[in-house]
Structures are given as structure tokens and as C-alpha cells.
């Protein structure tokens, strides 16, 4: 126990930098050729964006036709003359103007008054329920996306079937089906700076695990090395979005860019999941400018760039936004909003039955509210998620995906075009 040993752990040991391998490695860098695998490039794809922190649905998809909206929000209501009107009653927050073109070509819909039947206003509990798909049940171990993957085995799995962008696997993807958390595509694989050394070490580990024969360690390592091969072919460092497409600066834009890249690389992606944060606007939320406006601007630009980048590829892609609950109808004393109940979600893509605000609008009058203060839930989020799984991804049986709940096609909000 000397000082130098401690320094090792602090500096060298954990910096996750390479072994100091010399160029000799390059000489023996024998990377085997890519194993071709058959991936149907017509597989439908779902992209889920979780707006963590509870987005204010009322300032995202604004019910500007309702005078109560303006009455309850004297300081933070979005002025009527700046709203991007959708149908005379609802309109987009001006920051979401980049999405208007998608609305007009019917590939964007909004669902209002959607949420959880559970009354919790705890971020933690409500996010948990939305990810496990079991409102009110805390002990569910896995997430609904993972359950979909384990029950729907029609598709040949590739390591990229279900991907979460971020440092850790979120609850929604937790479970027994293989799924992958990727912080950054460019850094996926062994973190060894020099390519020759990296390839050689990759091959060495691959050989080591080939000795395992069968079992989870063997199959997982095979998947991992297949994934590295696929990515190597796709070469994330060389990716250029379609001409004229600029993703906004920041994590969300970068994540959507990488999702677009995986889709184009045809690596077998079926479900991608990403977080976008910063929606818990208790203080100084702002109206057409301010905190929420800035977050929505990034969201609108990122979604618009994603859609233009994929172009015709959007014909098999659906993007679904979700958030754990909405916010209070009435603004609070800090020009913000507190935790509420129902919120609004967006559905975007070729298969979407767009250009409409879906769901039954409950109204904002006190007697129409949940517990006298919040937007009431008229669409259970499982009916929306269930519809997307069934009608877009083609899930056969929804009952194991949402235990204790059977999404009923009669209650589907109608977000996906019927064939």
C-alpha cells in the first residue's frame, strides 16, 4: 500500500486508456473479414424519446382555443399571435415550428390528455411506471420494450435490435432479451486509440470467448464482436447526414444523428431509445421565449433534421415521445408549473396517421380536471404504446407486454395508419 499504487488507481487504472502497445501490434493486426448476416431492410423501426422531468403538454401542444388556458396562465401562456395553429383549437409552441411541415404532410400527430392511470406525481415513480408499463406496480423487474423483444421472436435478432443511447440501460429496456446501451457509437468497442492495436485486442478477446463454446458469456461475446464488425463497416466517423441537414448542437441532436446512421447502416435496429432532459420547469418556465422554449426548439430542430436526414427511410420509422406526467394547468407563484397529470405526446413518421390531434380532450374547467387541478387522462399511455407495437411493429400478443392490462384496439387513439 504505497502512494504509487494509489496513484495507479487514480490516474492510470481508471482513465480507460489503452495499453501502451507499440506498433508491433500493427504488424500482426489480423482482423477477420466481415461475416455477412441477413438483415431485412424493410423492418419497421420505433424510436422512443423520453422527455424526463414531465413536459408541460399544455405549452407544447397549446389549447389556444380555450380561454381558460389564458386565464390560468397569465404570465406563461403562449400568446395567440405566435402560436403555430394546427386545427383552430390546438397549436404548436412557436419553437416547434420546424415540425409544421411534417404536420402538413400528415406524418406528425399529437396525442393530448395521455398519461398514466396512477395518480402519483413523483417523477421517480411515474417514470418507473411508464418504463415498466405497469402503473401502480413497483416490483416489475423488466421494461415493456424488453418484454416486447422477448415475446416477439419473429425477427432474427442482431446485437442492434434494441439500443438505448446513454451510459446505462434504462428500465424500459431492462430484462432478459438482449439489449445494448451505447453512450456514443464512435466509442463502441474496445477503447484502444490505435486502430491496429484495437483490432488485434478485439480479435484476441474474441478468440478467448470462442473457447467458452456455449452459454451466455459465449453468445454475448459473439453478439458484441458482431456488433463491432457491423459498426466498423458502417464507420461512424465518416457519417455525413443528407445534404442540407443540420442537427442541432447538443446531446439530443447527436443521438438522433447516430440513430439515423444505424438505420441507414441496416444493422438490424428495431427499437432505439433516448432520453432528453430539462422539462421540470417549476421556475420561470417562460412562454414563447424562455426555458421551455429553448428545450422545445432543440426538440423540434432535432426531429425535423432526423426526418429530413432519413428522407424516404421515414416510411418505416415511427418516432414516439413520452413523458411521465404533465404539469399543473394553473401557473405557480414562480412563473412555472408544478407536477400534474396528463400530458401530450408526439408521434412522427411515414406510418403515422398524421395531421391530427388525437385523443379525447377533457377540457380545462375545474370540474373536468383530475383532482380539481390537472389535465385529466383520457388515453392510457399503454393504449398508445400498444397501438404502436401492434400496428407499427406488428406485435402479435400485447398481453405479456403489458401484464394486467389488455390494450383494446377500440381504445387505440389511432396514431398509426391502418393498412
Amino acid at each position: 500500500m504505497t502512494i504509487s499504487r494509489r496513484v495507479f488507481v487514480r490516474n492510470g487504472g481508471l482513465a480507460l486508456v489503452s495499453l501502451g502497445l507499440d506498433p508491433l501490434f500493427l504488424a500482426r493486426a489480423a482482423f477477420r473479414s466481415f461475416r455477412p448476416s441477413i438483415i431485412p431492410s424493410s423492418r419497421p423501426i420505433l424510436v422512443c424519446l423520453f422527455q424526463r422531468g414531465a413536459v408541460d403538454g399544455l405549452n407544447m401542444i397549446v389549447p389556444h382555443g380555450d380561454p381558460l388556458y389564458y386565464q390560468e396562465r397569465p404570465r406563461i401562456a403562449v400568446p395567440q399571435n405566435t402560436i403555430v395553429d394546427l386545427d383552430g383549437h390546438f397549436g404548436l409552441h412557436p419553437s416547434l415550428a420546424p415540425l409544421k411541415a411534417l404536420w402538413d404532410n400528415k406524418s406528425l400527430a399529437a396525442i393530448h390528455a395521455v398519461g398514466s392511470p396512477d395518480s402519483t406525481r413523483s417523477h421517480f415513480d411515474a417514470q418507473d411506471y411508464m418504463e415498466t408499463g405497469t402503473p401502480g406496480v413497483k416490483s416489475t423487474g423488466d421494461g415493456w420494450v424488453n418484454r416486447y423483444c422477448s415475446h416477439d421472436r419473429e425477427h432474427a435478432d442482431t446485437p442492434f435490435r434494441a439500443i438505448a443511447f446513454g451510459p446505462q440501460l434504462p428500465r424500459i429496456l431492462a430484462g432478459s432479451a438482449p439489449s445494448l446501451a451505447i453512450d456514443d457509437l464512435e466509442a463502441f468497442g474496445l477503447r484502444v486509440p490505435r486502430e491496429g492495436a484495437r483490432d488485434r485486442l478485439t480479435r484476441a478477446f474474441e478468440q478467448l470467448y470462442e473457447g467458452e463454446g456455449t452459454g451466455l458469456l459465449a453468445s454475448s461475446s459473439r453478439e458484441g464482436f458482431d456488433a463491432i464488425q457491423m459498426l466498423k463497416r458502417a464507420d461512424p466517423t465518416q457519417y455525413r447526414p443528407a445534404a442540407g441537414v443540420d442537427y442541432p448542437q447538443g446531446r439530443l441532436g447527436r443521438t438522433l444523428l447516430q440513430i439515423a446512421q444505424l438505420i441507414k447502416a441496416d444493422v438490424g435496429l428495431e427499437i432505439a431509445f433516448a432520453d432528453c432532459t430539462g422539462w421540470d420547469t417549476h421556475v420561470n418556465q417562460g412562454s414563447n421565449e424562455g426555458q421551455l422554449a429553448a428545450r422545445l426548439r432543440e426538440l423540434g430542430l432535432a426531429l425535423s433534421a432526423f426526418s429530413r436526414d432519413l428522407g424516404d427511410g421515414m416510411s418505416r420509422v415511427v418516432v414516439l415521445t413520452m413523458s411521465e406526467f404533465g404539469r399543473t394547468i394553473r401557473e405557480n407563484g414562480n412563473s412555472g408549473t408544478d407536477h400534474g397529470h396528463a400530458t401530450a405526446m408526439l408521434v412522427m413518421g411515414g406510418p403515422v396517421n398524421g395531421g391530427r390531434v388525437l385523443g379525447r380532450w377533457p377540457g380545462l374547467a375545474v370540474e373536468q380536471r383530475f383532482e380539481g387541478r390537472d389535465v385529466a387522462v383520457t388515453t392510457d399511455f399503454r393504449d398508445l404504446f400498444g397501438e404502436v407495437l401492434a400496428r407499427h411493429l406488428g406485435a402479435g400478443d400485447l398481453s405479456p407486454i403489458f401484464p394486467g392490462f389488455t390494450p383494446d384496439p377500440q381504445r387505440f387513439p389511432g396514431a398509426i395508419k391502418s393498412l
Binding site: 487504472g13 484476441a204 430539462g278
Partner: protein, 532 residues
């Protein structure tokens, strides 16, 4: 129970004559049984430890581990002084959390003017300090698991912390969790299950996490004058609905449900929704004092449901806090509880799918001793299942076990920075951050997937880059190098295949330091070291 009689005899033998037992498993060498014991009762061997345990007798070492208070742990105590978080009590932490929250709000107000969102590198002052304390809390778990001589106790602390899981990210639990670990779990990790169960039930961390602090008899109201239920809003209580922050209005079943399903009887424990409601009514009034006063346990007489509650054949009537205590004692000694918790212990120590034999042995010992954790553990470690061939070296390490065992086998000395904890998080097990009350899973399917395995390889390469002189001297003789890696890193379990792959990789490496780093990195990142 025939098995319980059979087990009772070896128990006595082991207790008194452990030193004379050469090896607990006739088919295993002393070396292999020592390695097995160190892999399961400890976080793997440190250099030389397999030999010393084999030499002094595996069963004697196990018996010693069952009495942690008799084991000197000065080196760890010294190291603990470096952790500031141990100097702060709940109240100190609550105040620091409040300051951090105020700082956050001030920044949010400023950022709101510009429309920016908060950036992690922009934080300063109290926010930074509180975040650093959170990092210390995680790293402390790693330091203890690495350095403590009381290895089995550290394993049990981890087990109970996970069994009675509390999510550090839920509101006030950010400042309640450290005392939960220090004062609720750690002192009772090797005691009686009943004491541990009662302590967790009364802990502010659990009362907040599973919402029992808000559970009040319907129609009850506080006597006047009454301060607001949780003081000012936005003080660790953001996770509560604003209306409940002021005035809870009814029972909350969350704690009652998880108490039965997870902490005691198990999901198949044969209880109904009506039982859950009765249990919730019994615990009405078990709550937390205001956070700025340190958020201690309080029983609120006015919030307690004084009506008659009937559950599990028992009747509870107007007996205040004693009702809950009586119920917890009852639950702690139910057969379903014994079986549920014993099976979890066997999943931890024996196999993901534990054989019936060791579970029965554990249950029998529980019954005999009314839940003496040491007796239950002893029954598991003396069960033939624990030493059986299919069990040995077949259990995949959790991320925490993987990182700590690597640090131990390399004789590295972790400091107070959270870097090792960050590696554990990257491998999929961020400490104290499991949101679900189930805790983390024990089974390999939850820990092994392609991304996690690549992350383990990266961690192995990084760890192998450090100075290894204390463990393996550098040598140009590759065959000798591999022998040392096999013996000192893998405990002699290296397969012929692994040996040939590493040897081939070394073939053109002339620099002895590089060769050593490569061999060690491949060994720790390879398949053998993933198992225990």
C-alpha cells in the same frame, strides 16, 4: 424435516472442530476449496490468500468470517478516515442538501433568463460538494469490499442493502441513504433477521422511499398547532405531490406491499390485497420528522388507524406503534419468509438457481435459531450443495463483484475518488441507484450482454495498465509469465484454450512490461475471471 436433523449435527461439529476439518469437500483439494470459499464468502482472493486460507484450514477461515467482530480491521478503519461523508450525520447532510437545492434553484432562475439549460460543468459550491459526497458514498462501498478483512460481513452488507433496497435518487433519500447504510444495515448484517427487518421498517430512508411516511388513517388530521407536514416545499420532498406535502389524506400501501412481497413472505407467500391493506393500516403513523431537524423516525399517534385490523390470523387493536413491531416479528419468523430469504441467500452464495438441499438446510437453521443470520449462513456453507462440482466456478460475477475482485487480485489500493464506482456503473450496476424496490438481480442474464461484456474487457485493460510489480514481476519468459498469471490472477483455473490464445498474442511482444500488461488484461477480461 429430515434434513434439518441431519444438518444440526454437522453444525455443532463445525463450530467446535472446524480447525480439524481438512477440506469440506472430499473431491476438492485444499487449494480449490480455499479459492471457492474466497470467491463466494469474500470478493475473491488477494495475492497469497488462497494459500494462506488453504494452509490454515478453509472451515476455520469460514468460522472466523462468521465472527467479524473478532477480526481486526485497522487498515480499513484508517482508510475510512479519508471519507468525509462518514463525518456527517443525517442532519448535516440534510442541511448540505438544502444548500445544494438552493444553489440549483438560483442557477435555474438565472438560466431561465437566458433560456439555457443547466450544464454539469457549470455547477459550483454546495451543489458540487453534495455531488462529491454522493460519489464518496459509492466509492466507500468499493473501498470496504476491497480492503476489509471482514469480507463475509461486507458481502452481507451488500446483500441486505440490496434486499432492503432504497433508491438514492428519490428526493430526501439523497441525504437519508448514508445513515441507512451506516446505522440501519451495517450493524445488523450478521445479527438476527428480525432486528434488521424492524430497523429497516423504522428507517427514515425506507419510510420515505416506499411512501409510508405519508400513510395516515383516512379522516385523521394533525392536532393544532401543527407545523406543515414537511416544512417548506422543495426540500427533498420534490418527489411528493404538493398536496400530500402539506397534508396526507389516506393510507399508502406501497411499503405494506413490498414488505410482504420482497422483504418477507415473497410473491408466492400466500397473502391477499386485503392483507396488504390491513398491513398498511397497521403502519399508519410510522413517519419521519421534518428533514431540517434531521428527519428521524417518529410515530404519529394522530395519524395511526386505531381501528381493529385482522391479518394472518392475528388481531391488532389500538396498540399504537407496537402493532407494527408485533407484525414484523411475526413476519420475520414465518416459514414463507424463511424460505424466500434463504433461497435468495443461496442464489447469492451457491447458484443462480439454488439447489433445494442448501435452501432446506438454511431454513432449518433459521427455524432453530429464530433467524440468526450467522447460523443460516453456516448451514449454507456446510451444505454439500455449496461444495458440489457443478456449482464451483460456475456463477457469473456481478459488476460490483467483478471490479472489486479485480482490484483485490491486483493488490491495488482504491482512493476516495469515485472512479472505480463509475466503472461499476458503466458495467451496469450503479451503486444505490436501482429505482425498483426489488434491488438488483442476482442472475447472470441481468449482467451479461454484449455491451456489458465489452465494458468488462475495457475495464480489464485499464486495470492491467497500472503497475503490477507487486503481483507479477515482469519477465521475458512468456511461458513463465502465463504460469504466474494463471496462478495469481486466475487461481490456477486458466483453460488450455485461454493459455494458447494469450501465448499466441505474446509471441511478438519483446517488452516485458507490455507483455505482462497484455497477459493480465486478457486474463481479467477473459471468460475465466467473469466467474466465481
Amino acid at each position: 424435516m429430515r434434513i434439518s436433523l441431519l444438518i444440526a449435527i454437522p453444525l455443532i461439529v463445525v463450530t467446535s472442530l472446524s480447525a480439524q476439518m481438512p477440506s469440506p469437500a472430499p473431491a476438492m483439494t485444499a487449494h480449490d476449496s480455499a479459492l471457492h470459499a474466497l470467491n463466494r464468502l469474500a470478493y475473491g482472493p488477494r495475492p497469497g490468500e488462497v494459500d494462506s486460507v488453504a494452509h490454515s484450514g478453509v472451515m476455520r477461515w469460514i468460522e472466523r468470517q462468521l465472527h467479524p467482530d473478532r477480526i481486526d480491521d485497522k487498515a480499513l478503519e484508517q482508510r475510512e478516515h479519508a471519507f468525509k461523508i462518514l463525518d456527517y450525520d443525517r442532519q448535516d447532510l440534510a442541511l448540505r442538501y438544502r444548500d445544494a437545492q438552493r444553489e440549483r434553484q438560483r442557477m435555474q432562475r438565472e438560466l431561465a433568463q437566458t433560456g439555457d439549460s443547466m450544464r454539469p460543468d457549470g455547477i459550483a459550491g454546495p451543489m458540487r460538494e453534495f455531488r462529491a459526497l454522493g460519489g464518496e458514498l459509492q466509492q466507500l462501498a468499493i473501498v470496504r469490499a476491497t480492503l476489509s478483512e471482514r469480507q463475509l460481513r461486507e458481502v452481507m452488507v451488500d446483500f441486505w442493502t440490496n434486499h432492503f433496497n432504497v433508491f438514492v435518487g428519490k428526493g430526501a433519500d439523497r441525504f437519508l441513504l448514508p445513515s441507512y447504510i451506516e446505522q440501519t444495515i451495517r450493524p445488523r448484517a450478521m445479527g438476527h433477521f428480525e432486528d434488521l427487518l424492524i430497523a429497516t421498517a423504522e428507517s427514515p430512508a425506507m419510510l420515505f422511499y416506499l411512501d409510508n411516511a405519508q400513510s395516515v388513517a383516512p379522516g385523521s388530521s394533525p392536532p393544532r398547532p401543527f407545523r406543515p407536514f414537511f416544512g417548506r416545499r422543495r426540500f427533498g420532498m420534490n418527489e411528493l405531490p404538493e398536496d400530500r406535502r402539506r397534508q396526507p389524506t389516506g393510507i399508502n400501501e406501497n411499503y405494506a406491499r413490498e414488505l410482504l412481497e420482497l422483504h418477507t413472505l415473497g410473491v408466492d407467500g400466500g397473502y391477499t390485497q386485503q392483507d396488504i391493506i390491513a398491513v398498511a393500516r397497521i403502519f399508519t403513523g410510522w413517519s419521519i420528522e421534518r428533514p431540517e431537524r434531521g428527519a428521524g423516525f417518529v410515530f404519529r399517534e394522530w395519524a395511526h388507524d386505531h381501528g381493529t385490523k385482522r391479518v394472518f390470523g392475528l388481531t391488532f387493536n389500538n396498540d399504537g406503534q407496537d402493532e407494527g413491531i408485533r407484525l414484523l416479528k411475526f413476519l420475520a419468523n414465518q416459514r414463507a419468509t424463511m424460505h424466500h430469504v434463504s433461497a435468495k441467500l443461496c442464489a447469492r452464495f451457491v447458484a443462480d438457481e439454488p439447489p433445494d438441499g442448501c435452501v432446506d438446510a438454511a431454513v432449518a437453521a433459521w427455524q432453530k435459531t429464530r433467524g440468526d443470520i450467522r447460523a443460516v449462513l453456516r448451514a449454507i456453507f456446510t451444505s454439500p450443495d455449496f461444495w458440489s462440482q457443478p456449482v464451483v466456478r460456475s456463477k457469473v460475477k456481478t459488476p460490483f463483484e467483478f471490479v472489486v475482485s479485480a482490484v483485490r487480485v491486483l493488490a491495488a489500493d482504491p482512493d476516495t475518488t469515485p472512479q472505480l464506482a463509475q466503472v461499476v456503473a458503466r458495467l451496469g450496476e450503479p451503486l444505490y441507484q436501482q429505482p425498483a424496490p426489488t434491488g438488483y438481480a442476482e442472475t447472470e442474464a441481468h449482467w451479461i450482454n454484449s455491451g456489458a461484456l465489452l465494458a468488462r474487457m475495457n475495464a480489464a485493460l485499464a486495470l492491467a495498465r497500472g503497475s503490477l510489480d507487486a503481483v507479477i514481476p515482469a519477465t521475458t519468459d512468456h511461458s513463465q509469465l502465463i504460469d504466474m498469471v494463471d496462478e495469481r490472477i486466475l487461481g490456477g483455473t486458466m483453460s488450455a484454450h485461454t493459455r494458447s490464445v494469450i501465448l499466441e498474442q505474446l509471441a511478438d511482444i519483446n517488452d516485458p512490461t507490455q507483455a505482462r500488461a497484455l497477459a493480465v488484461g486478457l486474463a481479467i477480461g477473459g471468460p475465466e475471471f467473469q466467474k466465481q
